[in-house]
């Protein structure tokens, strides 16, 4: 039930993010979620896209530095307390989240949380055991 996230190295240089999105647009790839971690001289662009394999190939062809990361994606009700509940399950099991970002799926009135967890497989087992709805690669990318 792991999902694929693309990470792209970006120098802090004007227009680099625009370049990435342009390349993806030209190849009909849809970005589902996007988050940038930045430092003073570089950034890491993290994305969930609809066609991860194709996106990786295309970005590489265009000289971007891309890596693939397994992340855990969960679907939550878009209401107070949903995230808190999940985080306490992870915390109770001593699972640390390295980073996390969310987006809304308005059609389904749901929130999707993407989490980078060191031990993703164990996190998935535990979350499933706790009745959390997980999104696998397919559900997520084709969402």
């Amino acid at each position: 039930m792991k999902a694929t996230q693309l990470s792209v190295f970006l120098e802090n240089k004007q227009g680099r993010l625009a370049d990435v999105t342009r390349v993806l647009a030209e190849n009909d790839i849809n970005i589902r979620a996007l988050f940038i971690a930045d430092t003073s001289d570089f950034g890491i662009l993290r994305m969930i896209v609809d066609k991860p394999r194709k996106a990786i190939d295309i970005l590489k062809e265009n000289q971007f530095t891309v890596s693939e990361t397994d992340v855990v994606a969960v679907e939550l009700l878009d209401k107070p307390g949903s995230l808190a509940k999940i985080l306490s399950v992870l915390n109770d099991n001593s699972l640390n989240i390295e980073y996390l970002y969310c987006f809304l799926d308005t059609e389904r009135n749901a929130a999707v949380d993407i989490m980078r967890i060191e031990d993703a497989s164990r996190a998935i087992d535990i979350l499933q055991g706790a009745g959390v709805k997980l999104l696998g690669g397919d559900d997520l990318h084709e969402l």
């Binding site: 996230q5 990470s7 120098e11 680099r16 993290r46 530095t65």
Partner: protein
């Protein structure tokens, strides 16, 4: 002030007699004691008797920095170790340093040359010399130290760093002559200002500045900020250290210690000697040095020479302020840096590409060296921490080799310009001319 009036103002014909004598004995000594020179001279059909006039020097092959490295550590020494009383070293092109030795007599000559240098800046036995050049393997610190003692001045061996304390010492000890790199002089001025110390509270009257390239506008800046006379000095450890040449208050070229060195300017491409006034590469031959004499040492420094008598009365040849290098060596905060040193560090670190670029800038008062390194795709991860650790690792390794601090910046692969022949490794944004 002229320290050694007899030599420094000697008629040129007389000086040339001294030079010829020194050259003859040096050629003989290196032929007999340094296998590298014997081999080279033999190959060129030259020997101890080949020097009839000073012009005969032109027939001799050059000595390169790599020759010193290839004979690391003591292969070019012309005297046994028991006669060596001091060793100094400067950075080499690929990690191995260039080692030079001094006999007791060499140290004596060096002190004499530095006494001339400091006297030219006005130093006497009444002065307090604030020596902020680094003490150690680098020749700057001890070179100035011995010269100042020779003059009879009081030396403060303060060395580099701890700038606030340096200002306090200047104030309390009444330093009158400052010796350091020009960029450090500006930094001292800035810190003094921050501390609220006015020039009138300091006794500084002059400074001898060298070990890195600087411009006339920087000189004006130093003179205005510190209210002193700023003198340019020149030297390199392969020849003797600081003291090879120095300005007088006329500021019209640097006087060369010609009773100890023969200077030539050559076309760096053809190796042919150039006439006075023409810009080319400075080449020095030592004619009195005992431990590590060098014949026609190519400095890679670009300058021109002039044999006219100076308004100060000195008759020794003068060289122009060095305006550049014929190789890719950089001088950053007084430290020699070769791009190849950085390259060899990067090659050893997993995850870096051998593609890098060095950006040198002078922001504020000090030189900044930024090393841009391409990130290898295999190494890239989604974690910021991992990339930052990597950046720190590269920084640490480079700093341990260069002994100066650098900024490391990770850049996207294939963004550093590739070129067919020589890659453009260095962008120097300092305005030095």
């Amino acid at each position: 002030m002229i320290w050694n009036k007899e030599i420094e103002t000697m008629p040129r014909e007389q000086l040339e007699v001294l030079q010829l004598e020194g050259l003859r004995s040096t050629v003989k000594r290196v032929y007999e004691n340094v296998p590298m020179y014997k081999k080279r001279f033999d190959e060129a059909g030259l020997g101890p008797d080949s020097i009839k006039t000073l012009d005969d020097l032109q027939k001799f092959p050059f000595t390169l920095k790599t020759d010193l490295r290839d004979n690391y550590p003591f292969g070019i020494f012309a005297v046994p170790m028991k006669d060596i009383v001091r060793l100094h070293a400067s950075s080499g092109t690929t990690g191995k340093s260039t080692v030079v030795g001094y006999t007791k007599n060499d140290i004596d000559i060096w002190a004499e040359l530095m006494a001339r240098t400091l006297s030219a800046a006005g130093a006497t036995s009444d002065d307090v010399v604030h020596n902020a050049y680094g003490y150690g393997l680098f020749t700057g610190g001890l070179g100035v130290h011995y010269g100042a003692e020779r003059v009879g001045a009081s030396v403060i061996p303060v060395s580099g760093g701890n700038t606030k304390r340096q200002i306090t010492i200047m104030q309390d000890f009444g330093s009158t002559i400052l010796a350091c790199t020009p960029s450090y002089a500006l930094y001292l001025a800035e810190v003094a200002k921050e501390m609220g110390v006015k020039n009138s509270e300091l006794k500084l009257k002059a400074g001898v500045f060298g070990a890195e390239p600087w411009s006339n506008s920087m000189r004006k800046d130093i003179e205005e900020r510190l209210g002193i006379l700023a003198i340019d000095i020149y030297g390199l450890s392969e020849i003797i250290g600081p003291g090879v040449a120095y300005e007088c208050p006329e500021k019209d070229g640097l006087h060369i210690g010609e009773d100890h060195f023969i200077v030539e300017v050559i076309d760096p491409d053809t190796g042919k000697r150039l006439p006075p006034g023409e810009k080319g590469e400075l080449v020095f031959t030592t004619i009195t040095k005992e431990a590590t004499p060098v014949i026609r040492y190519r400095t890679r420094d670009i300058s021109a020479i002039n044999f006219e008598r100076c308004a100060c009365g000195r008759t020794t040849a003068r060289m122009d302020r060095v305006t550049g290098r014929t190789d890719d060596m950089l001088i950053i905060r007084g430290v020699n840096v070769f791009p190849s040193q950085i390259e060899s560090v990067l090659m050893k670190i997993e995850g870096t590409e051998p593609h890098y670029q060095l950006i040198v800038d002078r922001t504020g008062k000090l030189d900044i060296l930024e090393v841009q390194v391409e990130v290898n795709e295999r190494f890239f991860s989604d974690r910021v921490r991992q990339l930052e650790d990597f950046e720190r690792k590269v920084k640490g390794e480079i700093e341990s080799v260069l002994n100066i601090s650098v900024d490391v910046k990770l850049v996207e692969p294939k963004t550093i310009q590739r070129s067919e022949g020589k890659a453009k490794r260095v962008i120097d944004r300092r305005n030095l001319n």
